[in-house]
């Protein structure tokens, strides 16, 4: 454990390497943060291609930047850039929604034929659609805080990404969860 910690270069060291044009430093940062940035984008966009596109763009920006974020800000910076790209897409795109609806309908119709776990896939597609509908009825801030937190960001990271005080994360989160639960239950009842 200790040995691996010693062998793992810090973000600061890697950022320094990146500033000097060391590609290995960039690769290490990419491998360290890509899954997390992708995870956020996927939850926001619900589409693998779009989420990969966003995550890739985030790292293009990191690679091309002249003024790089400082170590403590790196994670927050990456998420914030990712979130902004997601928001741009969310606005214009009803594609995802259509696709999810189609997927749900198809899942219902084709039930048995879907691979590898037809029943499970169908249930999951429906469940996702329901969660998204509930989220869509929340104010943007509530939606963002729930998705960021669900993606595993700490309060400090959530605060940095959303531009709010770390002390207010708990309050916003409690309110968002309450609203979400309410809308989610109401929509579930409508479905039944």
């Amino acid at each position: 454990m200790e040995a691996s910690l010693l062998l793992t270069p810090s973000d600061a060291l890697l950022l320094e390497g990146l500033a000097k044009g060391d590609e290995a430093s960039f690769d290490a940062l990419f491998l360290r943060y890509y899954p997390r940035v992708y995870g956020v984008a996927f939850r926001f966009l619900g589409d693998r291609d779009e989420a990969e596109d966003v995550a890739q763009e985030v790292f293009l920006k990191l690679h091309g930047r002249h003024f790089r974020p400082r170590e403590q800000q790196l994670a927050g910076w990456l998420y914030r850039v990712g979130l902004n790209l997601c928001r741009n897409r969310e606005r214009g795109s009803s594609r995802r929604q259509r696709r999810e609806e189609t997927a749900t309908t198809e899942a219902r119709l084709l039930g048995q034929d879907l691979e590898p776990d037809p029943a499970g896939e169908a249930v999951r597609a429906e469940e996702r659609a329901l969660v998204r509908r509930a989220l869509a009825e929340l104010p943007e801030r509530s939606r963002h805080i729930l998705l960021l937190r669900q993606s595993g960001l700490s309060y400090a990271e959530v605060a940095a990404v959303m531009g709010i005080a770390p002390g207010s994360v708990g309050t916003l989160l409690a309110r968002a969860e309450e609203r979400f639960r309410e809308r989610y239950l109401a929509l579930s009842r409508e479905e039944d």
Binding site: D27, F30, L31, Y34, P35, Y38, G39, F42, R43, G46, R48, D49, E50, A51, E52, D53, A55, Q56, E57, F59, L60, K61, H63, G64, R65, H66, F67, N84, N88, G92, R124, E127, R128, L130, V131, R132, A134, L146, L147, Q150, S154, Y155, G167, S168, V169, G170, T171, L172, L173, A174, R175, A176, E177, E178, F180, R181, Y184
Partner: protein, 386 residues
């Protein structure tokens, strides 16, 4: 101690309170049934929301392994670099934050297209004397660029350095100066600025000057023949190509930069300068040479067709417009300009939404663009001072 608010209790649940606060909260919870009840309620709420939201997490087969993603990233970057290098032409690199870097492509494109257009479009009919064509930017017309096509056909087949030699006679210098007054002395036309700056941007722009740049490129026939042969390209080259010299002259220009607040991606740039010119000797200004340049350029066929179809003019600049963006001719500053409205809808496009406008008046080329709507941009362009 007073009762805990919902936010503190929620942070307590996530172990996100500072150690001191956490101990105090625990002590209070020990002796306050009301807070314990609220904590239990918040915990149930967290559990319910968390379980539902977990459905959105990428499942198995819904995420690439990081190593695979890194490989894809490298390909994307290589493709982008290919496009960028073409888009960047001779424009001075600036490090003014990412929005500028995205939007710089518009300014860069102008310089580039003057060069590309000059090399590939200048018709044999419009020669100066009988040996020289001069290309100068006066009018602007859109050509559509599809970055995804650029990606697949990104590599030019030959590097210019394999066919001749670049010589920098005068290297352009780029620097920031105090204000518009300080920049005025560097150009021979009256500098202009925005009368009213769109909301959210600094009223006072950063002012940057670029001094004159003078670059020549001299063809080497033997080198070119060898390089073409290595590519398996067999063409008849005119003997007078040897030593033929292309001259690119970029007069001094000034850029104003109206920036958004710190950390903001928004901004507006205003480029003003006399048109770059390109002088092309007669030996290069033939249909055969043009076809050869296209063949070697690595540009996608659709773009080549567009460039070829453009009017046989050596004063019209093809302005690259990303596929998905819209462009239209508008009246601006009392003349005709080209307005491009950019929306980042395409995959692989990292420029923020915005618009840019290019026009020419009294021999000066103006390029105004940034992260503002087309209508705001037009309004700004129609209210310049003086």
């Amino acid at each position: 101690m007073e009762c805990l608010d919902a936010g503190s209790l929620r942070a307590y649940l996530d172990e996100e309170l500072a150690p001191g606060q956490r101990a105090a909260a625990a002590a209070h919870l020990d002796q306050c049934p009301a807070c314990r009840q609220e904590l239990a309620q918040l915990a149930a709420q967290r559990e319910a929301a968390g379980t539902a939201l977990a459905a959105l997490a990428p499942g198995e087969g819904e995420a690439s392994p990081p190593v695979v993603a890194l490989r894809a990233w490298r390909q994307r970057r290589a493709a982008r670099t290919g496009l960028w290098q073409r888009m960047q032409g001779g424009v001075t690199a600036m490090s003014e934050g990412s929005w500028w870097r995205s939007w710089r492509s518009a300014a860069a494109a102008l310089a580039l297209v003057v060069i590309v257009a000059g090399v590939v479009l200048t018709p044999a009919g419009t020669v100066l004397g009988d040996w020289l064509s001069v290309f100068r930017a006066e009018k602007f017309a859109p050509v559509t660029i599809d970055p995804s096509k650029m990606d697949t056909a990104n590599a030019p087949k030959l590097d210019p350095s394999q066919m001749g030699e670049f010589k920098v006679k005068v290297e352009p210098q780029h620097k920031q100066v105090a204000d518009l007054g300080a920049a005025q002395g560097t150009v021979d036309f009256k500098l202009r600025s925005l009368k009213s700056v769109p909301a959210g941007l600094a009223a006072q722009p950063g002012v940057f000057t670029n001094t004159t740049g003078d670059l020549t490129y001299v063809f080497d026939l033997a080198k070119t023949k060898a390089a073409l042969a290595a590519q398996g390209i067999n063409v008849q080259l005119p003997a007078d190509l040897d030593g033929a010299t292309v001259r690119v002259y970029v007069p001094a220009s000034v850029q104003l930069l109206y920036k958004g607040g710190s950390g903001s991606e928004s901004g507006l740039f205003f480029y003003q300068g006399r048109s770059p010119t390109l002088e092309l000797p007669g030996a290069l200004d033939t249909p055969q040479m043009r076809d050869l340049f296209f063949q070697l350029s690595g540009l996608p066929p659709e773009l080549i067709d567009q460039l070829k179809a453009m009017s046989q003019s050596n004063t019209t600049v093809p302005v690259p417009v990303l596929k998905g963006d819209s462009s239209r001719t508008v009246t601006v500053d009392g003349t005709q300009g080209l307005l491009v409205d950019h929306k980042p809808t395409m995959a692989g496009d990292n420029a923020p939404a915005g618009s840019y406008l290019v026009w020419q008046k009294d021999g000066v080329v103006y390029l105004l663009g940034g992260t503002v709507s087309a209508s705001d941009l037009q309004a700004a362009a129609n209210a310049l001072q003086p």
